[in-house]
Symmetry: C2
Subunit: 141 residues, 2 copies
């Protein structure tokens, strides 16, 4: 699928309730929410942004070189987890992970797993998006 | 103040509504919530954990070498922000940041800034906690 990351992100609302996870080597933050309200701002066109009442996220698309769909047995029990990972490159730790959020373990909302499978079929299990150009000036976080 | 990080974390509920921020070099995740429900588990004693309805966080205390209190003009307007930063060491990027969450810009809940100032006076503007021992076996995230 030859498309920029932005195109993929615009399809993520179909995944329903998600668990967003951002981690560094010391801390892990996880937020539950829908992928709704995605927006972009002109002076930082390489950033995807999402604000909601309880959480917000920002993703530097210029640093995402790979998107991977993972369907794996849960570490905590006898059910399956569905995750979209955003990485710099293969072999790197995920910069952002989106888990389909279950209600009871293994119980997903209707259509949620179908949406995951549909996106995986469309983009492929491992997808390399078109590069997102970064502005030439450095940006402070 | 000669104390382990755990002692400080147990005082953080006094800060009221917070904005938790975890970032790596690609993604930023921010969640609004109270520092309530802190817990520890026996098999990962160096991790501080917090679960709530909308978010959860995990902090590897063995990787936190410095806590800093920052009182700074907001980047977005004419008011003051109050932040507790958790870093590996001076000069490193924060692994976790806790911003006092305002309602309208600059409007904090009663007692919130006082609690921040009290903690800063007790621990010092830059505080080095007692080292947290890490188990000898590696832990996968």
């Amino acid at each position: 699928m030859d498309a920029p990351l932005k195109t993929f992100l615009e399809e993520c609302p179909s995944l329903g309730l998600l668990r967003f996870i951002v981690t560094n080597d010391t801390a892990v933050l996880e937020a539950r929410g829908f992928f709704e309200g995605l927006f972009f701002v002109p002076h930082l066109p390489h950033y995807a942004n999402l604000h909601s009442e309880h959480f917000e996220f920002h993703l530097n698309m210029a640093e995402v070189g790979l998107v991977r769909f993972e369907e794996l047995p849960s570490k905590r029990g006898n059910f399956t987890t569905y995750t979209v990972r955003f990485l710099k490159a293969d072999g790197e730790k995920p910069s952002l992970s989106l888990f389909l959020q279950w209600d009871k373990p293994g119980e997903y909302a209707e259509g949620q797993v179908d949406a995951f499978v549909a996106l995986r079929e469309k983009y492929g299990e491992t997808w390399i998006p078109q590069p997102t150009p970064a502005p030439t000036t450095a940006v402070a976080h």
